[in-house]
Symmetry: C2
Subunit: 410 residues, 2 copies
């Protein structure tokens, strides 16, 4: 992909995504193999007035070696300085940009239990700092760039170079960038449209949503009282608007963690700790997963579910028309950032307090008391289909068609 | 360069350089642009039994942006977690591998004073931790890999690809690697030869060395009493042998910080904080630089000298035959690791306590009391020439020719 258009993307990520403010610290997380894009982002951030740009580099090849060779004790060790670093970033009111280029299945040969224990140990230690982004106290944004190996997974019939170019095309299209337009203006328009959709859903204050389709999904998801449908950008308490996900097509809300019943069938694979889980399903009773299955990598699912109690309950429900821009590309990205925007999805694990009136100002216990969910995990999975029907049921028993045959009709 | 030979080099760096021990933490410092080589090093370290490999990535392009855009205050800030991280490494008895691919002159457009203040602030904060490597308490090693831009500086008439290949050839030759040999065995032989040279120099216990050549150098460098000439590998207090520099051809010793007199002319440029200082000289009186000059980048020199009092005194004197393997390649590397091994050199700034009997067990004050030098800097510069004469003078006035016409004759 030509440099000029990639720079345009970097500027979009920094300005419309993280929306770094004058003098602010921007922390970028990136793979060493995406150094060129990370450098563009750093430059655009400084040009936009960032006070400092710090890059936290990672390298999955080295991480893979660590999982191969290190003891469980060594893998689970989280040093105090790592927590101090996070606290230092928060004290400085940092914003975050995550550059994702994860290769699906990269860790598939690693013992799932060993990985899960290491991930859990880290997440537990990091949990006190999670609210900073989960509650939108500081801005954060996730964008993706195509690693060659990821591109080959998405386009297995192409050469490495062609595959990477094709994935660049798909990514840039999904984030509304082309050679001639002003993508920041496009995003302002897009954010307004999503906000209008949310306003409409909020006006009903549904008791629950009823999902049914031909795969066998029959699921009732109750929403917490005083829920807020959100979509597109978010706003920090100090009034800075930002886009946590680029792309995003969803309107999402907070399920009542103890009032979800029925069975849901996933409609797309799930990339989980480097494994690809396929054809899986969950049965919920009183909000809790009581049964589940998967044709491939069931163990990865089992490990995730056993992380903590919150991992067995929902934290998010999101609506996306089957006829959405990303869905219409008809590409399986093997990456949640894209695939979740091609289909209605649910998330097991932590809820977003912004989906509850006054949520961001509540303690974790208060959010839980309102029916929100807490976990070190937040795992999105897709279940939307072309024949999905969604009906909203109000407290006075009124049934409102939200989706018919996969698309918004409300 | 073919992968097999680069892996051979990675193994040499990890096993003969840092000599990582079973269960030990290895901390690798590397540019994100050298990820492939760093990954090989990590793999070889784990195969050799390392308990953990941590990589501290850097990216000069991002550092350059920081110098361009950040305030002096921001550049000088060293966070407490950075010190805690270093202490954590030391507590774990880590060893270090530094992978160098610095592009000479990369920061030449940056304000020298701004850079110097930032470097000084960082070094001052890091000084308490410096002894861990300077005193060889833990193993450490520096190796180099050719960045394309560095290679083009060394071979300006070649294409980027040819230049990088030529620099690979020169580096691998300098560290005694070829397609068929066992470089680890070569290094054992080489280390034994350097040790024999040092043994001979130590047996004289010279009062001072007298350097003269046609460039105008006429310098008397007194050595501290009970000095130790060292060269090749070093040994930690716990008995682990390692090679701090790869390549290395030098025998080096500790000058008496207050007894250096005369003038010395540099014979090669000096790459300093990303600037290339050319044709420079120093005049010493009672060990202190009292006058100096440079045809290019004198300001960078001035900034370095003004860092602290110790930067104006010598901390190291090193002898290398003009007819040495690296010298014979007749390549100007613009990198101290190589150029210092092509020529006799001196260093302004911190001394190495290992060059003093009992030095590694002394406090900094005790080393100073013995005539050693202390500084946040340690800046090597080359002054050896084809016509260099070096005469050793003993305390009873005996004059021993050490070098005649550039080469060892002792």
């Amino acid at each position: 992909m030509e440099e000029a258009i990639i720079r345009k993307y970097a500027k979009l990520a920094v300005c419309s995504g993280a929306n770094v403010q004058k003098g602010q610290l921007l922390v970028i997380t990136a793979s060493v193999h995406d150094a060129a894009f990370a450098e563009y982002c750093a430059e655009e951030a400084y040009k936009a007035g960032a006070g400092k740009v710090a890059i936290r580099w990672n390298d999955d090849t080295v991480t893979h070696l660590a999982y191969q060779y290190e003891s469980q004790e060594s893998l689970c060790r989280v040093a105090d300085w790592e927590l101090a670093r996070k606290q230092d970033e928060i004290d400085q009111k940092a914003c975050y940009l995550y550059i994702d280029s994860e290769v699906p299945g990269f860790f598939k040969d690693i013992d799932a239990d060993k990985m899960q224990k290491a991930t859990m140990a880290r997440r537990k230690k990091m949990k006190p700092y999670q609210a900073y982004t989960m509650n939108n106290i500081g801005q954060w944004s996730i964008v993706a760039v195509p690693s060659p190996q990821w591109a080959l997974k998405v386009f297995p019939d192409k050469s490495e170079e062609q595959a990477q170019e094709a994935l660049w095309d798909a990514i840039l299209q999904s984030v509304r960038i082309n050679r001639t337009n002003d993508p920041q203006a496009e995003w302002e328009r897009h954010d307004r449209q999503l906000a209008e959709h949310c306003r409409l859903l909020n006006s009903y204050q549904f008791d629950y949503l009823h999902f049914t389709n031909g795969l066998g999904t029959d699921l009732k998801v109750h929403l917490v009282k005083d829920h807020i449908w959100a979509g597109g950008g978010s706003t920090t308490p100090s009034g800075v608007f930002f886009n946590p996900n680029m792309p995003t097509e969803e309107c999402f809300c907070m399920p009542d963690r103890d009032h979800v019943d029925g069975t849901v069938y996933a409609s797309k694979p799930l990339s989980l700790s480097g494994k690809v889980v396929e054809n899986f399903w969950f049965t919920f009773k009183d909000g809790r997963v009581v049964d589940y299955g998967a044709e491939k990598e069931k163990e990865a699912l089992a490990n995730m579910l056993s992380t903590d109690e919150g991992s067995k309950h929902l934290g998010e429900v999101a609506l996306i028309s089957y006829d959405s821009p990303i869905s219409n590309m008809n590409i399986m990205f093997f990456n949640t950032l894209f695939d979740e925007n091609a289909s209605c999805h649910l998330a097991l694990g932590a809820c977003y307090p912004e989906n509850l009136e006054g949520g961001p100002d509540m303690t974790e216990e208060e959010v839980l008391a309102h029916g929100g969910n807490s976990s070190v995990n937040h795992v999105d999975f897709m279940f939307g289909t072309q024949d999905m029907d969604v009906t909203g049921v109000t407290f006075d028993g009124r049934r409102v068609p939200i989706f018919r045959a996969g698309n918004f009709v409300i």
